[in-house]
Each structure stands twice: as structure tokens, then as C-alpha cells.
Symmetry: C2
Subunit: 153 residues, 2 copies
DNA sequence: TCGGGTTGCTTGAGGAATCAACTATTGAAG
DNA sequence: CTTCAATAGTTGATTCCTCAAGCAACCCGA
């Protein structure tokens, strides 16, 4: 078999290195600003925001984990801490005894109100202030297609 | 002050969610395939590859950390493990007693040879098989500009 | 209604990342 | 020459994530 596809050419390399830089540095940058402002990691913040936009601000742990791009185990650990801090509450699902439902508490809602402006400001200054409208669309589209491939693994 | 810039509109949100998905899921996907194939995390692999392409396959710890998108502390811990496994060697810089130089060993080179094809295959199937030539250029360019902003924090 | 298999979630152990504190060397100012 | 700040790197404590194991509830065919 030919192995030309087994290596990255110069153009691919010139895109790959910055892309790796992005995926390695962005989470840390978001963590830092959220940690400083409200004491949450970006993953924790994402969990709360996802709940905020859910029906009844409530969601099954499994679905929440998937939407937040994390493992169920990771979410379980995180939910324990967030629950200890009073930001969310968990209770057994009435219709399926295996499931656990997580819901946002008032403290959780209130914390999101405090956190959102600073976080949006960070995201804007790092991403959207740098890109044109067309680029934003393009980037989102490419990211979505790549994520679909990762999910399909 | 107006706060319209304090929120993301629909188009921005439609790009932001997949982008977050990408940065949260890609590292795990790369880790998994490398861990399975050669027992290294993607960060560890990146450290070795970066050394491979350096002058004399040798680099200062600080510079290595920066190029690998990690903290010096993280690199220090990782280098200790890699050195214990015989994949790299560290020694004091002759011209500046504060610096430490890291260099690839023969085992390190050999491991890279074994790891590269599978890793490239993974990257290709997740990223480059999905994108057109133009998209690759665009994506790399956008990523580079965003990373520059993160570095400037 | 019983048994086997699956699903949803939690837990504990182990390893890895982060943060702050520390040592050591260098460079520069007085 | 001495001091003081800045730089480079390591280390230890804490926090966090992953993985494998476990448990309970559900589903379904016999």
C-alpha cells in the first residue's frame, strides 16, 4: 500500500500546530478567568449553564454529561462537589429508578448571573473580536463536523 | 455603558458550542489512541516530537514547555517520568547554570518511529479527511490568531 | 416470575495537572 | 564586592480526571 497519506504535508502541519495550540490552551484560559471570578472551572460552569437552559432547569446525569462533553464519571464527581456547595441538587428520577436528575438551585442561578458577564467578555475578547462574521460561521461548521467524527469513534 | 457586547448572539452561540466541544473532546481522543498504541499521553508525545525537530534534538526546558503549550511545572513532572523510562535525558546547560537542557535518547527516537504512523492516521481521520484544502488553511489561520490572543493574556 | 443481560450512576484507587513555595543561578545597580 | 531582583527549574500538597468495579433498577424472553 502507498503510505503518502501516513504523513502530514507542510500545509497540513501549518494548520495542525496552531489547532493543537488552541485545544491545549483555550481550556486553561477559560478556567483561569472563571476560577478567578467565581471559583469554578470551565467544566463546572458549563454544567450549570447547560442546566439553566434545560426544561425545568433539570436534566438526567447521562444527558448532561454528553452535552457537556465529559464522561459520566467525571460529571458524577463534579456534581458531588457542586451539590456540596449548594449550586445544584440531585434526586432520583420518578419514572426510571436508575436515572438521577440534576437541577439548578437558586444559589446556582444566582452564581450564573454573577459569572456570565465576565465569562462572555473573556470569550469575546479571545475569539469573536478576532474573527469576522463569515469566519465565525466557517469555524463553527468545521468544529461541528470534526466533533461529529470524534463522537463516532 | 451598553451591554449588547456582553452576550453572544445566535450565530456566535452556534459556533461557540461546537468549538467548545472540539477543545474538550479532541485531547481525550488523541490521548486514547496514543495511550493504546504506545502508552503515552498526547502531551508526552508532543514533548518528544518537539525535541525530535529541535537543533541537536535538544532544547531548554522553558522553551520546550512553551512550544508544547504547557506550564514549566507540568513539563518538569512529565520529563521526570520520561527520563525514568529512558526516553529523554536532562543535563545542566553549560552556558547558563539556571537552565536545563533536555535531549532525545535512542529509545525516544525509536518510540517515535513506532508511534508516528498510527498517530498521523488518527489525526487524518479526525481532521484532515473531513476538511477541504481551503478549509484547512482557514482553520489554521484562525487557530493561530486565537492562540496569539491567549498567549498575550 | 425468574434469570440473564443491559443501562444509569456512584465510588475508590491511582495517576496526572495545578498552584504555591522553594532553591539556585544570573545580571545589574550602587 | 555586595545586594537585590529576575530567571529557570524542581518539588510537594491539593485537586482533579480516568478507569475499573460495583450496585441497583429495568427489560425481556422463556
Amino acid at each position: 500500500m502507498s503510505d503518502e497519506a501516513a504523513w502530514l504535508d507542510d500545509e497540513e502541519m501549518a494548520a495542525w500546530l496552531p489547532l493543537i495550540g488552541l485545544v491545549m490552551r483555550l481550556p486553561g484560559a477559560l478556567d483561569q478567568s472563571l476560577r478567578r471570578d467565581v471559583g469554578l472551572s470551565h467544566f463546572e460552569y458549563g454544567v450549570l449553564v447547560t442546566l439553566e437552559y434545560a426544561e425545568n432547569q433539570t436534566m438526567r446525569m447521562s444527558d448532561l454529561a454528553f452535552l457537556c462533553n465529559g464522561s459520566l464519571s467525571r460529571l458524577s464527581h463534579v456534581a458531588r462537589r457542586l451539590e456540596k456547595d449548594g449550586l445544584l441538587r440531585r434526586y432520583a428520577c420518578p419514572t426510571d429508578g436508575r436515572s438521577t436528575l440534576a437541577t439548578l438551585t437558586d444559589s446556582g442561578r444566582e452564581l450564573l448571573k454573577r459569572a456570565a458577564p465576565g465569562h462572555v467578555q473573556t470569550v469575546r475578547s479571545l475569539i469573536f473580536d478576532e474573527l469576522s462574521r463569515d469566519e465565525v460561521r466557517l469555524l463553527g461548521d468545521m468544529a461541528r463536523r470534526i466533533v461529529d467524527r470524534i463522537k463516532a469513534l
